[in-house]
Symmetry: C2
DNA sequence: TTAGTATATGAACAGTTATTCATATATTGA
DNA sequence: TCAATATATGAATAACTGTTCATATACTAA
């Protein structure tokens, strides 16, 4: 491989791409965030939290699985700022971090023709 | 675990969550799409293609790595409708599937305070 | 058809990740 | 303080995924 019929335009695009490529740290941050929301078990938690904030017990009730597994998933979502937590007595109450999360989910579903 | 201080509201939310949970197929489709865009090597391809369509040679030039690795990544992105391809002579020219892709990337970067 | 170029792909290995199990921490009420 | 409840977490294993290497396919030009 060496060139193509659009050598000039593509080469310029490639050059611009290298110059405008986000730095490694930004790439890793975005990567980790998408990875956080890309697992079926965690996606279910997000879809569940669209209905409103919930404590762990009720998240388990909503999505199934064990308390331990859900807790591990919650930590990953929380570490990536997809959800937020507040303590309320003995419980930790989780909710979606902000409106960006819902927006991304809805964009994806629109794009893929999924009804949610 | 059995209940919490917000038993009623959370239980209702959990019930609504179960009732409104997308079916397994939709969950898997969304999951696969986010998984596709959640790998640093593939994210780089997407950021590169923001500059315009490119053939494989120039994508390799833009993001680095081997032709084989890039080809494998392109297939995953294509299978998940994140990018689209058209043949142009000996070359396959790739581009972002539609404006949803850019929108999702920008939402994520806004959310995470990354400049792109 | 043959040679050359561009791209794709199967298999294997290495690295990553989700779940389970056991246990730890934190809060509440007695 | 102690017991009970809610949640979190470390370690281990099993499943998954990205890359590499070798090779295959597809197109072009001669």
């Amino acid at each position: 491989m060496a060139s193509c019929d659009h050598e000039t335009e593509h080469h310029l695009a490639a050059k611009a791409a290298r110059e405008n490529m986000p730095d490694e740290e930004a790439i890793l941050r975005v990567s980790a965030a998408f990875k956080a929301i890309s697992e079926p078990s965690r996606l279910k938690i997000l879809f569940a939290l669209r209905q409103g904030e919930m404590c762990v017990f009720h998240i388990v009730e909503a999505v199934g699985g064990t308390q331990s597994a859900v807790s591990h998933q919650l930590r990953i979502l929380r570490d990536n700022r997809v959800i937020k937590a507040r303590r309320d007595g003995q419980n930790i109450v989780y909710s979606l971090a902000d409106e960006h999360v819902v927006a991304v989910l809805e964009l994806a579903c629109t794009h893929l023709n999924c009804k949610i």
